[in-house]
């Protein structure tokens, strides 16, 4: 299992975007750390928090739940939350867990749900 690393990057070109790059295994053992990192990154993001999942090698339900939860928090803070660079690990797990969907949850008032349209 690859160790989880979480790296914050200020987006070089566009202002207002904070990127959190996640590499390695995202599982229950790391869930608490991931949550802290998400909270910090969201607080630091001026407008948008984008999550780079390109180098995720493992993911479980706790990870998926935290993504949803982060979206929820971003909405209440008036910020946006999106996922960039999805890799096949993420796509497979989201699909196996039945997270892919066509409409967002009730809190999703501006159609920003990260699962809509499939994680593809």
């Amino acid at each position: 299992m690859d160790e989880l690393t979480l790296k914050r990057i200020k987006h070089p070109k566009k202002d207002g975007i904070e990127e959190l790059k996640v590499s390695g295994g995202l599982n229950i053992a790391e869930a608490a750390r991931f949550r802290e990192a998400l909270i910090d990154a969201l607080a630091a993001a001026p407008k948008t928090l984008q999550l780079n999942l390109n180098e995720v090698t493992e993911m479980d339900l706790t990870g998926l739940q935290l993504l949803c939860s982060a979206h929820h928090s971003a909405l209440s803070a008036g910020k946006s939350f999106k996922i960039v660079d999805q890799n096949e690990v993420y796509i497979r797990v989201a699909s196996e867990a039945g997270f892919e969907r066509h409409v967002g949850c009730p809190r999703d008032n501006n159609s920003s749900c990260i699962w809509v349209g499939g994680a593809h």
């Binding site: 929820h72 928090s73 039945g98 969907r101």
Partner: protein, 696 residues
């Protein structure tokens, strides 16, 4: 009624058993193939399940044992070995004999079943059964239910993750049971600040279609049922009455799931808008619940459509006798139609002729499709031979592989059935006499493993079946010596290879020095030849010493209708199968006089012997001045038949002569002509044989 079902089960079981046999043989070659293992398991499983349902308890109990072993194989606990395949093949044979004997109340051979079960259990590392009697007392699994769709709401306990359970594996197990739609409910997650990162908040609606029954779903959740809430409901099944692809309305689904109340549903339904949109806009349900319900709706629709498609594309089972009746009736119709056409032509009534032509066209189409129904691919026969080769080669201590080609070639069902025995003889011969022992082969610089290749291919209105082996080939000297010894030829006779090889079809001819259990009793080849000729086919051998032999069997596609040449002798009509006819030449009185009573005609510098049919059939009256010789080719020799007139080609519907005339020599059947008179069909090979026998 029960008998009908029992019969249907037996038919199905026989089919499954032959499929099982070919799967097992393939499995021996590719022991790692999971698909094949699955096929073997399913075949066993189905035989067990439906066997128990129709009261074949002994079969069900025995099959259960074998199925258990293959379940272990399927789960990777046991490896496929030659021994396992051997035992399973034996088990398959035993099940077959149980089925065969089931009508006689014969429960099968307890001893054999005990031995097979012990063998299998030994392989599985289990204790052997205590006594044979108890083996059949084992409880039989409940027959499997038919396909049904279930709605499962799976709400994991909050601490499920920390207990080490992973719901994703449970979902994967559910997917293994059948087509499955999984929708996660994600709406209730707290924000990052409040969330317990290790807690479980998600829950699922799962729509699953499976034929394994509700218990198999419960089994999936067996280890988590204390921590989770699992609700399983059957929402649809696909029995005969479920013929409607429409499924419940969205409102009904939500109501059933307890997401809305009846009053709420009615209040929404009062308005003319899409239910889902309305219900959400009224704030009765969450969008996600609606979506999940929509998934359910879609899932059931899709499965129902698939079931309907499968039903409409499936085949029906019709007893062979009914098909035979149909083909016979079509034969009658063809005859009557010929009369109609002839009558219409002689009346000169244009309207009647038009009708007759229409009837002719339709009858032709009807005849072709009726005959087509009886056509079967020869592949099923080939796979039977595969087993034969496997068993025989180990019995003979030889290493032999059988390859096939053209298994999809179609032949009339009756022809395939009658072809079976002669083919078995020919293959046995190839294995026994043709292919050498591994050591001998190696010494001759050949691969240890011999090959027998079976091929079938269409050729005009016939099918050519070839059996090729890469064995020792035919020993010409031995054949010659034997033929001289038997008085079939003189010691100085000059024979072509073809003529020499044809000698082995003589009755009582065998060059094998030692009689083995497989062949060599010298009854094989002449019986083979007779059987092939009874199918109006021919057989031919080519061989190169040391390199192998090829036996070619030519068989007409169907036995019901043939193309033939209509000829006349006096007022009598005869038919000669067109496939055997080479050419027709004239025979004048001068020709007859010139040959000095030796019945030989000069045809392009060669002498062709002929048989004057008028004499042979003792037809009264005098022949015309110019007669016709129809020259036929039988097994490589040209023989002429002298007739008065050649009328022309004719589509002949073959009628058997009936039991009273069964032994008439030289006639293989009869047909009815357009004017209602009868024409006899000549059995050309037999005529030639009997004339030769008289001359000798």
């Amino acid at each position: 009624m029960i008998d009908v079902h029992r019969q249907a089960f037996k038919e199905e079981a026989y089919e499954l058993l032959s499929e099982l046999e070919s799967s097992l043989l393939e499995l021996e070659e590719r022991p790692e193939d999971e698909e094949l293992i699955g096929r073997v398991f399913r075949a066993m499983h189905t035989i067990k399940g439906s066997g128990a349902m129709f009261g074949f308890d002994d079969i069900a109990a025995f099959t259960h044992e074998v199925e258990t072993i293959f379940d272990m194989v399927r789960n990777g606990k046991l490896k496929v070995t030659k021994k396992l395949v051997n035992l399973t093949l034996q088990a398959r044979d035993l099940i077959k004999s149980m089925l065969d004997g089931s009508d006689l109340g014969n429960g099968g051979d307890l001893d054999a079943s005990f031995q097979i079960i012990s063998g299998l259990r030994e392989l599985a590392g289990e204790a052997p059964p205590e006594a044979p009697a108890e083996a059949s007392d084992e409880p039989v699994a409940v027959p499997v239910a038919s396909e049904a769709t279930y709605r499962i709401r799976f709400i994991p306990g909050h601490h499920l993750f920390t207990c080490g359970s992973n719901p994703l594996t449970l979902l994967a197990e559910l997917r293994d049971l059948g087509p499955c739609n999984v929708v996660a409910h994600t709406g209730g997650f707290p924000s990052l600040e409040e969330i317990d990162p290790e807690g479980c908040y998600v829950f699922w609606d799962i729509i699953l279609t499976t034929s394994r029954g509700e218990d198999s779903i419960k089994d999936v959740f067996i280890f988590v049922e204390d921590d989770c809430e699992v609700k399983i409901e059957k929402i649809a099944d696909y029995g005969p009455d479920a013929d409607n692809a429409d499924y419940k309305k969205l409102g009904e689904i939500l109501l059933e799931r307890g997401e809305i109340s009846r009053e709420e549903m009615d209040s929404v339904l009062g308005e003319q808008k899409r239910f889902g949109e309305l219900a959400v806009s009224k704030g009765i349900v969450e969008q996600q619940s609606v979506m999940s319900a929509l998934v359910e709706q879609q899932h059931v629709k899709e499965v129902r459509q698939a079931v309907q498609q499968a039903e409409s594309a499936s085949s029906i089972r019709v007893p062979a006798e009914r098909l035979d009746v149909l083909v016979n009736l079509v034969g009658e119709l063809v005859t009557v139609q010929a009369r109609l056409t002839q009558t219409a032509a002689s009346r000169g009534d244009a309207e009647l002729v038009a009708i007759a032509e229409e009837v002719e066209r339709l009858t032709g189409e009807l005849r072709d499709s009726a005959l087509n129904i009886r056509m079967l691919p020869i592949g099923s026969t080939f796979s039977k031979f595969k087993r034969l080769v496997r068993d025989l080669s180990s019995e003979l201590g030889k290493e032999i592989e059988m390859t096939t080609d053209g298994a999809e070639t179609e032949l009339d069902k009756t022809v395939i059935e009658k072809l079976n025995d002669p083919m078995v003889h020919l293959i046995r011969n190839s294995l026994d006499h043709g292919i050498e022992l591994p050591e001998v082969r190696q010494a001759a610089g050949k691969p240890r493993q011999g090959t027998v290749h079976l091929a079938a291919v269409h050729s005009g209105d016939s099918v050519l079946i070839t059996i090729t082996d890469d064995g020792a080939g035919l020993d010409k000297e031995a054949i010659r010596a034997k033929a001289v010894e038997k008085g079939l030829i003189t010691a100085t006779a000059e024979l072509t290879d073809k003529e020499l090889f044809n000698l082995i079809f003589a009755p009582g001819f065998s060059t094998a020095k030692k009689i083995s259990s497989v062949s060599g009793r010298g009854v094989g080849m002449d019986v083979v030849k007779k059987a092939i000729e009874a199918l109006r086919g021919s057989i031919d051998i080519t061989s190169v010493r040391g390199e192998g032999a090829t036996i070619t069997v030519r068989i007409p596609l169907t036995l019901a209708i043939i193309e033939s040449l209509l000829v006349k002798i006096g007022n009598d009509s005869f038919m000669i199968p067109l496939a055997m006819v080479d050419e027709c030449v004239e025979l004048t009185r001068e020709d007859v006089a010139r040959s000095h009573g030796r019945n030989l005609a000069h045809v392009r510098e060669t002498l062709v012997p002929y048989i004057p049919l008028r004499e042979r059939f003792r037809v009264a009256g005098n022949p015309p001045d110019i007669e016709q010789i129809v020259i036929t080719q039988v097994n490589g020799t040209r023989v002429g038949f002298v007739v008065d007139n050649v009328i022309g080609e004719h589509q002949t519907v073959i009628k058997s002569l009936g039991r009273a005339y069964k032994n008439v020599e030289g006639i293989s059947g009869a047909t009815i002509l357009g004017d209602g008179s009868v024409a006899l069909i000549l059995d050309v090979p037999q005529l030639v044989q009997s004339v030769e026998a008289e001359a000798a």
